[in-house]
């Protein structure tokens, strides 16, 4: 029994206990955190919404916490465990200790000097999940950014635009890269107008009509000044072509937001754009969608299909006219309310259809993989309802 005695370790319980949380790490996150230069992660929750109290919680407004790396987002979920999970660590013998005799420490002559002690207990673990539809900043930005009112003028307020945007992003519960993508997607910009320290109030997002107006103006200006939008151009030149005898038809920040949206490789949100080249495919798609959203936002206001295609063509540089086709629009972004018309489907409704289609198919596979009861029985619950 001497070998056993040699590896006998006294096990104790320390009070007071400490507070720990256990966070399950997916392999990519574990690799990131064990790398030499592990980044600081962020736990983000959605901004407090005054409408919380008045409306029943919806999918979007429910409280949640996301864990974000620079590029990725995970939804945090607390999972209770029926087992008790103790955190233990080696202990030195210097602390005050209860009677060791109760475990036979001194009577049978074991040399129980080596000690581990339980310093905390966790009844639950935090799991990280990525829903199949992924994460996007767009719904949150659409909710928090005020819509730009045509004619609102930019104020000459000395602010660090990048800093303002970063402070807005602190309230958007997805990763930094996803925030930037969302900001560009909604054409967010800093108007430098607003009250007090509410940074969101300094920012705006344009409506579809406004975006359409800016794009129309850009297109006209480019034709007049002979700027080929199919090639690289100086953003400064394009801005000059938009000016109406030196008058700004809309804030330059809005113009730049639109340019960023249609440009290829538009990752550099926090840098000034000097040169730009438009991504033909994504620009064509974007123009078609904002036009549809502007003129036919709902099923009741559907627009004739050929009429739509012609208007779309007219909104593109001459050589791109041939690109126009219904198949170029984002899937689910439009529907045909009757045999001759087409209308826009907003992103919230799009999510709903996508979710219904995808969950049933994927639920079966996730249920097999998962250890969680609520995942396992989600399917059955859905069917009963």
């Amino acid at each position: 029994m001497s070998t056993q005695a040699a590896s006998s370790i006294l096990f104790t319980h320390t009070s007071p206990q400490q507070g720990f949380k256990l966070l399950e790490l997916p392999s990519d996150l574990a690799d990131l955190l064990t790398s030499k230069e592990a980044p600081t992660l962020e736990l983000k929750s959605p901004p407090a919404n005054p409408s919380h109290q008045t409306h029943p919680p919806t999918e979007e407004s429910r409280e949640y916490v996301n864990l974000c790396t620079a590029t990725k987002t995970y939804r945090v979920r607390q999972v209770q465990s029926s087992n008790s999970i103790h955190i233990i660590r080696p202990s030195d013998s210097g602390v005050e200790r209860g009677d060791i005799d109760i475990v036979g420490g001194s009577t049978d002559g074991l040399n129980l000097v080596e000690t581990v002690t339980a310093i905390a207990i966790c009844g639950s673990t935090l799991e990280l999940h990525t829903p199949p539809e992924g994460f996007s900043a767009v719904p949150v930005l659409e909710r928090i950014l005020p819509v730009y009112d045509d004619g609102e003028e930019a104020e000459v307020m000395e602010v660090d635009v990048g800093e303002v945007i970063r402070r807005v992003f602190a309230d958007v519960p997805v990763s930094g890269v996803q925030c930037e993508e969302g900001w560009i997607e909604v054409c967010g910009f800093v108007l430098r107008r607003g009250s007090g320290g509410d940074v969101v109030g300094w920012c705006r997002r344009p409506s579809a009509e406004t975006k359409l107006g800016v794009w129309r103006r850009v297109l006209e200006g480019a034709v007049l000044q002979g700027i080929d939008l199919g090639r690289q151009f100086l953003v400064k030149d394009l801005w000059r072509s938009v000016l109406d005898e030196g008058e700004e038809p809309f804030p330059r920040a809005l113009f730049e937001a639109v340019v960023r949206r249609v440009c290829a490789g538009s990752g550099l949100l926090f840098e000034d754009i000097k040169w730009a080249s438009i991504d033909q495919a994504s620009c064509t798609q974007w123009v078609g969608e904002i036009y549809l959203e502007a003129v036919a936002p709902t099923a009741t206001s559907g627009v004739g299909r050929s009429e739509f295609l012609n208007a779309w063509k007219d909104l593109l540089p001459e050589p791109w006219r041939g690109d126009v086709a219904f198949s170029k629009l984002t899937e689910n972004s439009f529907k045909y309310p009757d045999p001759t018309t087409i209308c826009f489907v907003n992103s919230a409704d799009r999510q709903k259809t996508k979710k219904n289609a995808s969950t049933d198919a994927s639920a079966a596979t996730t249920a097999k993989k998962t250890r969680n009861w609520h995942e396992l029985f989600k399917n059955q619950k859905r069917q009963k309802r």
Binding site: S7, D92, T115
Partner: protein, 155 residues
């Protein structure tokens, strides 16, 4: 601002010798012991568990006290003779509770590594009151006791 930073592990290696097998050792010395059931500790604070998560953990003014529970044994492991790629010893771990009960468990690799997250200790109390968290350790193995205790003779 609803953004809370979660800092990566800052290596603060412990100075104490770690009596656990090499596989279970971590830089900070922290490890996980999971068991079915609870350890009831006769304690001056009856609800030590419920107040644990909020307790400011390293307050030096509160004296720590250790209550012996039992002993931990790795019967098939010996630091001198067990090869590092030998995993047979992991199948058997004993946790004696008191003198007359023994639980048999094993060392298990976690399906996903677990990060131990704790509230970051403030260096200066006047610092911003924003909450900050940090990962104190990333753990890949656990001691797992899923069986009931069995009576043993106090040999």
């Amino acid at each position: 601002m609803p953004t809370i930073p979660l800092h990566p592990r800052v290596s603060s290696p412990i100075s104490l010798p770690n009596p656990l097998p090499q596989l279970l050792q971590t830089p900070s010395g922290l490890a996980i012991l999971e068991l079915q059931g609870t350890i009831n500790v006769p304690s001056q604070e009856p609800d030590a568990e419920s107040r644990a998560p909020t307790g400011d953990t390293h307050d030096p003014s509160i004296a720590t006290f250790e209550t012996p529970i039992g002993k931990l044994m790795f019967p098939d492991y010996s630091p001198q003779t067990t090869a590092s790629d030998d995993t047979k010893w992991m199948k058997r771990v004993y946790l004696y509770v008191g003198r007359y009960q023994r639980m048999t468990g094993e060392v298990k690799k976690l399906a996903q590594p677990l990060a131990l997250v704790q509230r970051r200790q403030k260096e200066t109390s006047s610092d911003s009151d924003g909450e900050e968290l940090e990962i104190v350790e990333i753990i890949k193995y656990k001691l797992f006791f899923k069986n009931r205790p069995e009576p043993v003779n106090d040999s």
